[in-house]
């Protein structure tokens, strides 16, 4: 029997029906057409399906859809504020931190999770934090630089607001 789930996705109250065996990734992509979250492996090894669940970074392929009842889910589709890109998104573009782009949404979600808790990450911290997000195109160099660059810009912007 299908389950009726009510949750918040990117700040919007969202309802959907799903089987108990369906993953959050399936529901996001197939039921809700939020295809920005990608499936690269289905086993939690590549990070392409990264989303935030109640402010925690998760692989949505490892979360059952029924688990998100009364929760808060944030996906790549909610990262920009209207037509204003998040500094990370802007930084990825400016640093050419993507080639094919399939891992990009997952990496952005993961990187945002890092910067939300650690505004001053070192290169090593960035590398270990995103070690769960596979990219086969870039060798990670420009991705790491983009994340470090965004962190700096966000810190400067914060300092600007405070001063």
């Amino acid at each position: 029997m299908k389950q009726h789930i009510c949750t918040s996705i990117n700040g919007e109250v969202t309802e959907f029906l799903c089987d108990t065996s369906e993953t959050l990734l399936r529901v996001l992509r197939d039921n809700l057409q939020l295809t920005g979250t990608k499936e690269g492996c289905g086993s939690g090894d590549c990070g392409a399906c990264s989303v935030m669940l109640n402010d925690r970074l998760v692989c949505s392929c490892l979360v059952l859809a029924v688990e998100v009842q009364n929760s808060r889910v944030d996906t790549i589709e909610g990262m920009a504020a209207g037509d204003k890109l998040h500094p990370l998104q802007q930084s990825f573009l400016e640093h050419a931190a993507l080639q094919c782009g399939i891992c990009t949404p997952g990496l952005l979600v993961a990187a945002k999770a890092l910067l939300d808790t650690n505004p001053y990450p070192t290169e090593t911290e960035v590398r270990f934090w995103i070690a769960g997000n596979l990219c086969r195109c870039t060798g990670y160099d420009k991705i790491v630089r983009a994340i470090l660059g965004a962190a700096e810009k966000m810190r400067n912007a914060d300092a600007g607001v405070r001063s």
Binding site: T35, G42, G101
Partner: protein
Amino acid sequence: MSHSAGPTLRSVGTRPIRPDGIDKVTGCAVFGADFNLPDALHGAVLRSPFAHARILSIDISKALALSGVKAVVTASDLPEISGEQALTNDQPPDFRDMSANILARGKVLYDGHAIAAIAAVDEETASRALQLIDVEYEVLPHVIDVQQAMEPDAPVLHENMITQGITPAPERSSNIASRYEQVHGDVELGFSQADIILTEEFTTQPVHQAYIEPHACMARVASDGQTEIWCSSQGQFMVRAYCARLLDMPLSQIRVIPLEIGGGFGGKTTVYLEPLAVLLARRSGRPVKMEMSRADVFRATGPASGSYINMKIGARKDGTLVAAQGILCYQAGAFAGSPVRLGCMTAFAPYDIANVKMIGYDVVANRPKSAAYRAPGAPMAAFAAESLIDMLAQRLAMDPIELRIKNAVRQGARSASGFNFKEIGYLETLEAARVHPHYTAPLGKNQGRGVASGYWFNMGGQSSASITLNEDGTVLVATGNPDIGGSRASMALMAAEVLGIDVGLVRPQIVDTSSIAYSDLTGGSRVTFAVGMAVTQAATEMVAELQRRAATVWNVPVEQVLWRDGCAVANIEGNNERLSLSALAARAGKTGGPVAAHVSLDAQGAGPGFGTHICDVEVDPDTGRVTVLRYTAVQDVGKAVHPSYVEGQLQGGAAQGIGWALNEAYLYDENGAQLNPGFLDYRIPVASDLPMIDTVLVEVPNPRHPFGVRGVGEVPIIPPLGAVANAVSRASGARHVDLPMCPPAVLKAMQRAARKSR
């Protein structure tokens, strides 16, 4: 026409944000699995659990009877392709093999080989139906390893496989599909002149391209047979041509709509799912969507060939190479067609050696059919050659870059595969590597530095581009080649350069097979060079047309009209007249109608590419674990159109090569079933495995491209295997000849070397 690759360029060589960037950072870009149609069925594939077995019978009746199942197909639903029809103009691919690869015919040849495909209303029904297909097998002995597959008593995959390239032809069938020989000079004579001869055996494992996006497609077939396919691939025209051949359909009946491609690296230069989706859609009357799981990708697609290589070089005491010889055995997978020939041609291409003899064997084994992977065939051959060059440098106590400079091919030199090099920049990469601060930085304990070079032909080929001037002066550039790593940006930059306008006014589009003339696929490092040439010529034609339009407006001979900075200019009766692109666009309706240009060409003159990499590693003497400390990739790129994406190619290729060298390998159980078809156990490099990868873009222009472009995508995966191995060998004091250099293997080699030296 020729544009000098100098400081006068205003767009080419700059780093604008890529035109498809916003879509890709916001999740809007539509990749292979992201496209949906209402009413689409879910397609699934039944795969062999055996490495080698005869299919005695397939009973689909129970599966068909399951409620929700709309179609089931097996090999008997594919048109039979005879031996005579298999090739096109004697050129690969072999469509009979391709057909038998997408659905097994008579025998299954590897674990994961597709046997049947099914379309059902949902995923759950489809997977239940798969279990209801009854296949009766006669399991046969199998062979996985390339050397074992060459043994006379090895299980034979194809009963009719008689080795080609041997006279007289062998009487018995074997797993050796063909023998290739390439000779120039006289190696016997060459080795007799050598003061030092070094011989070594090398092995490399098959490695997967490991694009993060699994294969996916959607097909819809109308009742009159008109077929649409949405998929991610390295060539929409390739998908159209292959589907037409495999399904015996006219090209005009198929339209392939390219979706964004989530990595390919050569692995998406063929079809697996698309013909099955078309068959199922045709049979069911509904659209069918198919997606591979990651396990499917590992079990049934790719990889690059594994290899066994026996190689020998001879040199004089001063380091001059006088002879080289190699026997290369490449594992093709279940069907013939490894790139062993390309390995033979590229291994010693960087060196001016008078006598070279290379013999290649293309060998089948019970593994997935190998597919192109970035510079197909070259990395493993270069690993062997560059290891030997390093061993020679050690023997002579010579600097490894000096030794390479001494022997480097220069303009006019004859390549190891027989042709003469024109303008090349190999020497320049060696000089740049030598003066790079990395090369002289101090090393610590258990650390070593390795150097290696690589060569790739680079390709041109058939390419098409259409340019359209919009009414407001913006420009559309349409091409038929999927953008894997930023080629839209390159196309826009080249068009903007010729038109003399801001790149932001140019919108590049990748269009479907019914919207533009044919283009060869995206591969061989050809798009920026060859499609770029088509774009440049189309833009040039548009400029000529705009000059004619301006001449009409001013009522002067066209010869009087020049094109400068995006404007038609003319000096008319002492006055400097000027009409901008947008002004001309606005008047197009009154000066002859819409302005557009289309160019289709067969681009010749791809400039060869050379790269030299430097790698520092540290080897843990207790565990054999290798850490890459520093990495620098130097490459002659001709002219970097968008330098950031050129650097990205170098960095990505280097990372893939590091994975090939240190980590990646398939594991099989005793029954020939793959043990690690997932990213947990088939471990590609992750961010914490790698340092920053420094790049040096050397620009020796290719005179046969308007902006001097050479292809850049393939070369960077060639040097890393040797560079890492040479670094590990120097750090550990033991020569490493088998890849991957995983910790147990490194430890073993170190222990063996220690025993020997005692």
